[in-house]
Amino acid sequence: MNRYVVRRILMSVPTFILTVLFVFMIIRLIPGDPVEIILSQSPYTTQEAKDSLRAYYGLDKPLYEQFVNYLGQLVTGDLGESTNTESPVTEELRSRLPITMEFGVFAVVIGLIVAIPIGVLSAIRQDSWSDYLSRSFAIFGISVPYFFTALLLIIYPIMWFGWAPPLRWVGPTEDPIGHIHYMFWPALLLGVTLAGSVLRMTRNQMLEVLRQDYIRTAYSKGLRERVVIWRHALRNALIPVITILGLQVGIAVSGTVVLEVLFNMPGLGKFFLQGIFNRDYPAIQGTVLVIASFTLLVNLFVDLCYAWIDPRIKYS
């Protein structure tokens, strides 16, 4: 077991380095660099001006040298300076990551609140109309693009009812209640999407668990249905559900990219998208690094959980 854990952790190191290399190389393959964007609005830009700015950002050096420099920076915890916002990427990440994390967690919580009760009900009443209805809801949740539901929410209520979701960013320190109110709507949109997968999973897991012997035993002991379901069945069904939630990081990331722009949220997703459009290499690298580490950590955690739950798993 311990040996497996150590191996598994060691294995993430090359993966991490590969990811860093990937992102470093791949963004430099896209035509257009930050200098083109920065100078796009200045007339009479000479080649010398462009070259000087490239030199200023260190883009004139050969790729391998840039990469070595970057790795050197990484070791000291420096992610470079964003060419788009002219501030250190670490500083940007420090202010933006908590917002996106909060957004993600809020969405997951909403997703769970919606999905788990419905999923359980749907499993208990398998193949009833309420089952079909709730599953349809779940699947519909993942069938509509985020940007579309968000646009519907932003455009129509103000026209019909004179109401709009709060679209002005409110920081958690200046007004905690306003902040939660602000976060609620985008989190709901993302949460409903996450709920779709969680609901389906909860239902399936519940169905599995309900067929298990110990549940029958619990029933035969004369325990009430509520107790059996919520105390015995759900607890066991939820383990895979929770681990799977971690795998939805990817979905959540693309969701935050779209929703943060629509709701004016100064998070990581917006920073990332701006970074891409402005060819802000340090920003893209920094953001991908964070997302990738997070994904790797989650996967590591999931694998270790599985190993812990099922000791037969060997690393192959």
């Binding site: 294995m11 590969l18 393959l29 896209i30 035509p31 693009p145 940007f147 693309s254 893209i284």
Partner: protein, 317 residues
């Protein structure tokens, strides 16, 4: 565990297995019809949409792209059931043509990506050892990498490349091809992980070990035993991916990275015409939005049912 699965796993060689496999898919359809009303609805809807993908552009009353085939920005009315957009085009014709575009895109990506995923997964899972370890590190790194960046990069690199054998416009044009290529890579590498898992579990089955001990070559085992038995998993994954791919196209369009405007995609309609004009012309959002959501809905529902009857192991993925 279903009866077919049980049969399959105990008798996977010889004519019996062949027979069972051939009837497996028919059988699955039969079971969906009998046992899965929701899946049935999805299946019927999906069949309708497939038909529309084939005949849609033929029955479209107007050219979907031609300017001025209708009034400008008017709501649903006789002759224009879904209204018209700000370039005075018939939305109904555009939505109908969108079926073919989305389904073509979806199917091509699904088929190619599943093929690649199966090859990668089987090779990695079956060969094991260093091949597996190294391949999986790459897969790990790729999965940790945000898909959006990857799609953008591939699109950007290939943009401006004129593939000589492709037409100059439409979904099969160079830009469409580039998008499909990017999506194929993205989807297949993620899926190869699942195919590898399926390979591993079949590899450890008794009959495979028996075949190996009887002296069957590796390629024979792969082709005769492993491949046929992971096909159900592959099919299910493919169906479930189809919706995601169509959705991805819409998101890319929204971000301004979609197909050129002369390819009428639902995502394009939503993020060009609808996004700019839907406040005064809600029908611009209604047509493509509904078409997109219903198509993905039906695919997902059908895929769920297919998964239940074909491959219960995949539950919870």
């Amino acid at each position: 565990m279903s009866s077919t699965d049980a049969l399959l796993e105990t008798n996977s060689r010889g004519p019996v297995a062949e027979y069972i496999r051939n009837s497996l898919y028919l059988n699955a359809i039969r079971r969906i019809v009998k046992e899965k009303p929701l899946g049935l609805i999805g299946m019927v809807m999906f069949a309708v949409f497939l038909t529309l993908a084939i005949i849609g552009p033929m029955i479209a009353p107007h050219d979907p792209n031609q300017l001025g085939t209708g009034p400008r920005l008017e709501g649903p009315q006789w002759g224009y059931p879904l209204g018209t957009d700000n370039l005075a085009r018939d939305m109904w014709s555009r939505v109908l043509t969108g079926y073919r575009v989305s389904m073509t895109l979806g199917f091509i990506v699904v088929v190619t990506s599943t093929l690649v995923a199966v090859i990668l997964g089987v090779v990695s899972g079956f060969l094991g050892g260093w091949t597996d370890t190294i391949l999986q590190r790459f897969v790990d790194a790729f999965i940790a990498f945000p898909g959006l960046v990857f799609l953008m990069v591939v699109q950007a690199i290939f943009f401006g490349f004129e593939f000589p054998f492709l037409p100059s416009s439409g979904i099969m044009s160079s830009s469409g091809f580039t998008m499909m290529l990017a999506m194929t890579l993205l989807v297949s590498i993620g899926n190869s992980r699942i195919m590898r898992g399926a390979t591993l579990s079949i590899k450890s089955e008794v009959y495979v070990e028996a075949a190996a001990s009887l002296g069957a070559t590796q390629s024979r085992i792969m082709l005769k035993h492993i491949l046929p038995n992971i096909m159900a998993t592959a099919l299910t994954i493919a169906t479930l991916n189809l919706g995601g791919i169509i959705l991805f196209e819409a998101t890319l369009s929204y971000l301004g990275l979609g197909l050129p405007p002369d390819v009428p995609t639902w995502g394009g309609m939503l993020s060009r015409e609808a996004r700019n004009w839907m406040s005064q012309a809600p029908w611009l959002a209604l047509g493509p939005g509904l078409a997109l959501s219903l198509a993905i809905f039906s695919i997902n529902v059908f895929g769920d049912a297919l998964r239940d009857v074909l491959d219960p192991r995949l539950r919870g993925r």
